[in-house]
């Protein structure tokens, strides 16, 4: 009898072998190193008086800080809406059959992606120096640029128009991800180009468009801090006003940072579920929610199965 056959027999006879889990010493070492570094960091954060945690506690729910958060959120929402709407238009222009339309879209994207957004913000803020009155080329229209371009409108224009350039690339990638056969099938049915885009292509492109748009929204929330340079009283500028008065610079920057983390975390959760929603029909099984992951962890690591006992 061969050795192999002998082994199969033994295995068949002893069906209730207990399983000894593989050991991973490397994992324990790396975990220990990381925990040690983490503790060092924590100690310095707690023990360093310059963090001024008492001051942080005092200002974390200050009226002007909360008002700043409201403006930050408002600015994020408005600029993202402008960015998405204009981005779709630019993306469709970019794949147009008309070379002039295509080039115009390309020029817009090159300009807004090629210049720093901070420069754009300063530019819009100082628009009155370039065009003191805005006539739009229409007789009878003569608007005072200084009155229209408030810090807030400059911020909305700067961030929104810049965002449109980035969104258009995301939307374009989404449109290109839809199989060519789809527009052919629609064309063969006599559905015109605009209807094909609206009813067939864009709904399918959403799966590709949504995840990076979530990232862009979170990015936008943080980018709004830039408009503090044109004195829009958003979260960072509100904090700056306070520390300009009381010189508690670090604690107020901590206040702002804590709020940025809180809001981006909430947006991150929203993004997870939005992505999960649009993954339907694209994947067989949806990615597990954190709650499902936790349940699975508990199930897999339950004490009985760890010892290899049978259930």
């Amino acid at each position: 009898m061969s050795i192999a056959t002998e082994r199969y027999k033994t295995a068949a006879a002893a069906d209730d072998f207990s399983i000894v889990k593989a050991r991973h010493p490397g994992r324990w070492i790396s975990a220990a190193v990381i925990v040690f570094i983490g503790l060092l960091l924590l100690r310095s954060v707690v023990s360093n008086p310059n963090f001024g945690w008492a001051t942080v506690g005092m200002y974390i729910r200050d009226v002007s800080i909360v008002r700043g958060i409201a403006i930050t959120l408002e600015l994020t929402a408005i600029c993202m809406v402008i960015g998405i709407v204009l981005g779709v238009v630019l993306a469709v222009m970019r794949i147009s059959a008309n070379p002039v339309v295509r080039t115009a879209s390309f020029a817009y994207i090159s300009f807004f992606r090629g210049t720093p957004v901070l420069v754009q913000l300063l530019f819009w803020y100082n628009l009155a120096a370039l065009y003191p009155s805005i006539t739009l080329g229409i007789p009878g229209v003569d608007l005072d640029a200084n009155a229209i371009i408030t810090p807030l409108t400059a911020a909305i224009l700067g961030l929104g128009l810049n965002q449109a350039a980035y969104m258009s690339e995301i939307v374009r990638a989404g449109i290109l991800s839809v199989e060519h056969g789809q527009s052919e099938a629609a064309g063969a049915l006599g559905i015109n180009r605009l209807q094909t885009m609206r009813r067939v292509i864009l709904p399918q492109a959403m799966r590709v468009i949504i995840p990076p748009t979530g990232n862009e929204t979170i990015g936008m929330l943080k980018t709004t801090a830039l408009v503090s340079v044109i004195s829009v009283p958003e979260l960072l500028y509100s904090a700056q006003i306070i520390y300009a008065r009381n010189f508690e610079t670090i604690p107020l920057l901590m206040v702002a940072s804590i709020w940025y983390i809180v809001v981006t975390s909430i947006l991150g959760v929203g993004q997870f579920y939005l992505e999960r929603h649009y993954a339907k029909g694209g994947q067989r099984s949806l990615p597990p929610t954190p709650w499902q992951q936790l349940k699975r962890f508990v199930r897999v690591h339950d004490p009985l199965s760890a010892k290899g006992a049978k259930k």
Binding site: A188, G190, G281
Partner: protein, 267 residues
């Protein structure tokens, strides 16, 4: 001409062409795919295009409904030049919207079905009738359900394409094309992407459709289907029509060496 006489003989059918291709040329860059194709398809006739891959069969089919623009010759469909308006001696290129309107008359079925994956079967069927023919939802739905029943999928109206087998998807695609009440149906290798055991159900639907008197042009590798259902078989190679004639003659007794070699290789 009465319908009975029209369908009595193939010659009578040929007298009234539904599709007339005159000297069709098509290039992709420097590659000449169609080198002057002449082809007529009579009203109610079923024509199968066969030939080795790269012979230009699919390209010719796609020229019929102007999914491909042609570089030379004329494509007549139901008495008008496809993609152009004939005014005096000049051909005026049509707008995309006009081409879309002509395409309503021409149904097309693709190798990879190309159903809209984000819509269920019923929505797939009523989309074009509602958008293009401006049909009411109730009218379009009633007709769609009737057509689904005729392809044997009455119970799948609420399913999504991904939940169906390839054969079922292709039958939905045929029903979707029929929803537009086309005068001609084009089939671009409708069974090539299917598992062998699913080919039969699609061919049966096509056979039933042929029996209703629909004008059909079918690019296919299914020689049995061509022999049993087609009125005429057209063998193409290297952008030319090499041989054509009644199905049984071309497949049973090919005259040209190229045809013989091809038929021997697919058998």
């Amino acid at each position: 001409m009465s319908a009975t006489i029209m369908e009595a003989t193939t010659t009578a059918k040929a007298l009234e062409p539904m599709i007339m291709a005159n000297a069709i040329r098509k290039n992709y860059g420097r590659l000449e795919v169609l080198k002057g194709i002449d082809l007529q398809v009579g009203r109610g006739e079923v024509v199968c295009l066969i030939g080795p891959s790269g012979s230009g069969k699919s390209t010719l089919l796609r020229c019929i409904n102007h999914l491909e623009t042609i570089d030379g010759g004329r494509m007549w469909v139901d008495g008008s030049v496809m993609g152009y308006d004939l005014k005096g001696t000049k051909l005026h290129e049509q707008s995309h919207a006009r081409i879309c309107r002509s395409r309503v008359e021409i149904g097309m079925v693709f190798q990879h079905f190309n159903l809209f994956p984000h819509m269920n079967v019923l929505e797939n069927l009523i989309e074009a009738p509602r958008l293009v023919l401006k049909e009411k939802r109730s009218t379009a739905t009633a007709r769609a359900l009737q057509l689904l029943d005729s392809v044997g999928l009455a119970d799948k109206a609420k399913s999504f394409p991904r939940q169906l087998s390839g054969g079922q998807q292709q039958r939905v695609a045929i029903a979707r094309a029929l929803c537009m009440r086309p005068k001609v149906m084009l089939f671009d290798e409708p069974t090539s992407a299917l598992d062998p055991e699913l080919v039969g159900e699609v061919l049966k639907v096509m056979k039933d459709l042929a029996a209703t008197g629909m004008t059909m042009v079918v690019v296919t590798h299914e020689m049995n289907f061509a022999r049993d259902v087609a009125d005429r078989v057209v063998f193409m190679a290297d952008g030319h029509v090499v041989e054509q004639g009644p199905a049984k003659e071309v497949i049973g007794n090919p005259q040209h060496e190229r045809t013989r070699a091809f038929l021997a290789s697919v058998r």
